[in-house]
């Protein structure tokens, strides 16, 4: 058999629908094995509920409307925390990146704080803010602050000096120079920080919500744990995965829009 002609099995695997479904073969197999072993009683429902039970729990929570309150509460916390922390990180990053004096004044302090894990502050945060919303927002804001801050600072500092020199010699200075040259030049780096922060945002929120809360996905899973509802716990975990993925898709969308000039983000020309 010559090397150029493909064997029947190769031809079979090169069909588009086969190509598209191949990545799902393994997950479906795992799900099936899981379902079978739960039904046969090999797997205790206290360890893992059967997949079908998770689907049913999800449906029950959706129908009762309970899930939406929790998702809305968690999303609100995540976004407000992100807005505060990310906004401050952006503002301070722009400040220290632009002005040397601000860097000397603030940067080493910020670097010291950065090395404290945000979660190590939980006892202190509870003492300061009690267990209400402020504590959760504070933790999220603190956690997302640093990726945005560091990447903004780095982005501003690594803007091509030649472009700034050119823009100055073409009469740009002050805010126009900042808006048209420095900020867009730093944007790629800033967005890396934003994307990183969006991932961190959910991690911190999960921890914050499991400490103490009256609503939210974390509260729902902790509550379900008390009543040994492993299916609801799994629904919570899957929700976090879904929301994390959504945040990542949103960040990618931002990159595609703001960096659309960048060759790396342009659609490949059809040849």
């Amino acid at each position: 058999m010559s090397r150029t002609s493909s064997s029947p099995s190769e031809r079979f695997f090169s069909r588009p629908w086969i190509q598209a479904s191949l990545p799902w073969v393994f997950p479906v197999f795992v799900l099936a094995a899981w379902q079978v072993s739960s039904q046969a009683g090999w797997l205790s429902t206290r360890v893992l509920p059967e997949p079908w039970a998770v689907v049913k729990a999800f449906w029950a929570l959706t129908v009762s409307g309970e899930i939406w309150t929790h998702v809305a509460t968690s999303t609100w916390r995540a976004l407000v925390g992100f807005a505060i922390g990310g906004g401050l990180g952006l503002a301070l990053g722009l400040l220290t990146g632009t002005f040397r004096s601000a860097e000397t004044l603030l940067d080493s302090t910020l670097q010291m704080i950065r090395n404290i894990p945000a979660l190590a502050l939980i006892p202190l945060v509870i003492l300061w803010f009690g267990i209400d919303e402020t504590a959760k927002l504070f933790l999220v804001a603190l956690g997302v602050f640093f990726p945005v801050y560091l990447n903004t600072f780095h982005g501003i500092r690594s803007v091509d000096k030649g472009l700034i020199e050119m823009a100055r010699s073409y009469g740009l200075s002050g805010w126009p120079l900042y808006r048209q040259v420095i900020l867009p030049g730093a944007m790629a780096s800033i967005l890396v920080g934003v994307r990183f922060s969006l991932g961190l945002m959910w991690v911190l929120l999960i921890v914050a919500e499991t400490i103490s809360a009256q609503a939210g996905i974390g509260y729902m899973t902790m509550n379900a744990r008390e009543f040994l509802q492993t299916d609801v716990v799994l629904v919570g975990i899957l929700l976090y995965a879904l929301l994390g993925k959504l945040a990542d898709v949103a960040a990618k969308g931002l990159e595609r829009w703001w960096l659309r000039w960048h060759p790396g983000y342009q659609p490949q020309p059809k040849t």
Partner: protein
């Protein structure tokens, strides 16, 4: 390509007609009372970095509307002189004036074209040309300038998709849209291939003839300076070593008279023993029919 070529040549012909006397230095005074090009006078220019002299007591006068080219080996200080004129750096001592005033007061009359095009990658071609111009009128003028360099149809593109020659043409349009009275060219064609360079020579020459600005070109290509300049200035050992007028009719062709100028200047450049300035310099050996020297 061929369409752009036609446009360029058309521009040359149209622009050439009223200024036939350009080849004669005496008859090149413009017809209007106030010439568009600026008179440049740099006197006693010294530039020092630490204890290293880059320029020692350089005097350079350029007539309004004149095209002057500065050649020299790498590291001789020719680019520094250009950057001083552009106001990107300040001289250790000496005076640079435009039409008799301090050049710093005329920053908006001076535009520079860099070796790398320095287009803002996040602005479309038209917005790059309109940089520093306000509003819709600025964009209109930018579109006009783009048409003059033959790139009107690329206005909506990102700079990343343009070729090196096209990027430099956009940079040229961006400089011209400000109607500069002194255009500084810092080896703008150094990174382009030979054919694109010849095309760019024609384009720059025709635009210079049409707009009448004063032009100062820094290059290490002697043939390029003979092709474009009224005067070729050689900088050697941090000072001006040669100031050679090129009396050839435009548009210039590579005929024996052209070759004679090129050889004369080149011989003068090569006289200088290679010192510490450019220790790794090796003469380029090229085919005789495409004689292009790099210094």
């Amino acid at each position: 390509m061929s369409q752009q070529d036609l446009q360029i040549q058309g521009g040359t012909v149209a622009a050439c007609a009223p200024v036939q006397g350009r080849s004669e230095p005496v008859a090149r005074a413009p017809a209007t009372h106030r010439p568009h090009g600026a008179a440049v006078d740099a006197s006693g220019i010294v530039k020092r970095y630490g204890d290293r002299d880059v320029l020692q007591n350089v005097d350079l006068r350029i007539e309004p509307g004149e095209f002057v080219s500065i050649v020299g080996r790498s590291g001789c200080g020719k680019s520094t002189l250009l950057r001083l004129l552009a106001g990107l750096e300040t001289a250790t001592s000496g005076r640079i004036s435009l039409d008799g005033d301090d050049a710093q007061l005329h920053r908006q009359d001076i535009r520079i074209m860099f070796q790398d095009a320095r287009l803002l990658p996040w602005k479309r071609v038209l917005d790059n040309v309109a940089l520093g111009l306000p509003g819709a009128e600025g964009r209109e003028r930018a579109a006009e300038a783009l048409a003059q360099v033959g790139l009107a149809d690329r206005a909506k593109e990102w700079p990343a998709v343009l070729s090196g020659g096209q990027r430099q043409r956009v940079a040229l349009a961006r400089a011209l849209v400000h109607a500069p009275r002194l255009l500084l060219l810092d080896e703008p064609l150094g990174a382009l291939d030979a054919l694109t360079r010849i095309e760019m020579h024609r384009l720059i020459e025709s635009l210079w003839q049409r707009h009448g600005f004063t032009a100062l070109l820094v290059t290490h290509d002697v043939a390029e300076s003979v092709a474009l300049a009224d005067r070729v200035v050689l900088i050697e050992d941090h000072r001006i070593a040669l100031d050679q007028r090129v009396d050839l009719p435009r548009p210039r062709h590579r005929n024996p008279a052209f070759a004679a100028y090129e050889e004369q200047i080149l011989n003068r450049v090569l006289q200088q023993p290679e010192g510490e300035v450019a220790p790794d310099w090796v003469p380029e050996t090229t085919a005789a029919h495409a004689l292009r020297w790099a210094v």
